[in-house]
Amino acid sequence: MSRGNRRRRPGAAPRALPGRSELPARLRNWRDLHLYSLVSSLGRLSARPFATGLTVGVLAIALTLPLGLGLLLDNLQRLSSTVEQARELSVFLKLDLDAVETDAALQAARALPGVVEVALRSPEQGLEEFRRYAGFGEALDLLEDNPIPAVLDVRPTAQADPAALVRALEALPDVELVQHDAVWRQRLDAWLALGQRFSWALSVLLVLGALLVVGNTVRLDVQGRAEEIAVVRLLGGTAGFVRRPFLYLGAWYGLLSGALALLVLAALQYSLGSAVETLAAGYGSGFRLREFSMLDALAVLIGAAALGWLGAFLAVGHHLRQDRFGEDSL
């Protein structure tokens, strides 16, 4: 049956035609048939606005979740790549060390293999930086003691293994904490990769759910029109003729819900955008949320329509298989 169908598609149409003069007429008929399906499927949607709205709403939510999550991850990834790949290690010494102990730690760090240079930032320098960059000046004035430890900025050689160096530095006496940006980066990347996997899995599930929603809605519509389908079959309608209006119906559901999902996402971005910008400005960053481009939006719409089409195809195909020649009733 599907083969008979395929012959009607425009690409294949010329091959099936014997005479050239017939071609425009056949194309016109083909266009008329599709116009008929298009219009009648739209009519079915508008005949029941409430049911249509419910279906489109459910589908839109099922599409918004993975799209929103994908967008969020994409933004996080861009944010993390703006953090430069830092090779320097910061070694925080214990508080309350005197100058001799600090110097001993400095020398010990310098003596480690794989270290090019070590610079000391004394607690006083640290306090000054903190006051200057972070704007905590007044708060810091309230403190009696300097809460900032001495910090060693360690620059490793290009060949040094950062993990081994971290372990060696941590083993030194009087070292409180070794902070390595590369490790932090690795962890973030790992989290992002996990998030991406999760969003893929979620997307697959939700897209399957959307497929089932379209399929079930179209199935109900098919059931409601069983008599019409039976009559069309008796009058010589091909499976393709029966299927076509439902395929358009599914595609409409998909298209409408895709558009609604984009609207919801745009609203979310609008409401979050200013907050994110304020936050980014606080960190002295010009970071802005990336939005969907026209191309992305188009892809979402096309993908959603294709999803609806497929769901309808599965549902109608099921009905047609049950209603094969020799089993339908007069």
Partner: protein, 242 residues
């Protein structure tokens, strides 16, 4: 054959029958034998009634012509083609060669008369301009052109059946089959409908009507096939002159 071939069919020396049942038997899955060794021919432009008590096999006979069933044995040939050998994708095209009229008319109630009658042409992919012309012609032939925008439920039972006939003839099929088309109608309306059918052969359409209304069948003086328990027990031309 015992058929009273119409003039058009008699002209050719060996006219190929429009419809030919060749020793057709149909046994349903439950073991019930609906048709036994049924053979007859129907020529172009011929009209025939099929009568018999209910359960005699009239409906099965129609279902075989319309490819809703396949014979268990024997062959049904339509225009020389064995219907049992059609591929599934050719079934819709074969069905378009037969106009169907149902006892309960089976019109689409949410569509206007025009749209109902246009449906077979739409299915066959006829151009829109052509559709309008042919639908109007068909509605005019059954006398309902003025009601083309009405919905089926606003019509009387007889009018609804006439729309069903218009839908069956709009595609100009060589054969029209009707299953108890007057079963729901009072005698006067039934006769009107039957008269409408009997005008069709003159326009080139062969007609096969299943009916148990023997009184009406005799009145129309056409060829009659009588079925009894799935067997063809009589094939005669009703005696009364029209």
């Amino acid at each position: 054959m015992a058929s009273t071939a119409s003039g058009a069919a008699a002209e050719s020396s060996t006219p190929p029958a429009l419809l030919c049942f060749d020793a057709v038997s149909k046994r349903y899955a439950g073991g019930q034998e609906a048709l036994r060794e049924l053979s007859f021919e129907l020529h172009r432009g011929e009209m025939v009634f099929v009568t018999g008590h209910s359960g005699a096999g009239k409906s099965t006979l129609l279902r075989l012509i319309h490819l809703s069933e396949r014979p268990s044995r024997g062959a049904v040939l339509m225009e020389g083609r064995n219907l049992a050998q059609l591929k599934p994708r050719d079934v819709p095209h074969a069905r378009r060669r037969v106009g169907m009229v149902f006892q309960d008319h089976r019109l689409l109630l949410d569509r206007s008369l025009f749209d109902n009658v246009a449906l077979p042409l739409l299915i066959a992919g006829v151009a829109r301009v052509e559709i309008e012309r042919r639908v109007r012609t068909a509605l005019e032939r059954v006398g309902l052109l003025s009601r083309e925008r009405s919905l089926p439920l606003t019509l009387s039972a007889g009018e609804q059946q006439r729309v069903g006939i218009a839908r069956a003839i709009v595609g100009q099929p060589p054969l029209l089959v009707a299953d108890e088309p007057t079963g729901n109608l009072d005698p006067q309306l039934a006769e009107d409908i039957m008269r409408l059918f009997s005008q069709l052969p003159a326009q080139g359409t062969a007609v096969l009507v299943a009916s148990h209304d023997l009184h009406l069948v005799r009145k129309l003086a056409r060829r009659v096939l009588v079925l009894d328990h799935g067997r063809l027990v009589d094939d005669f031309r009703a005696g009364a002159s029209a």
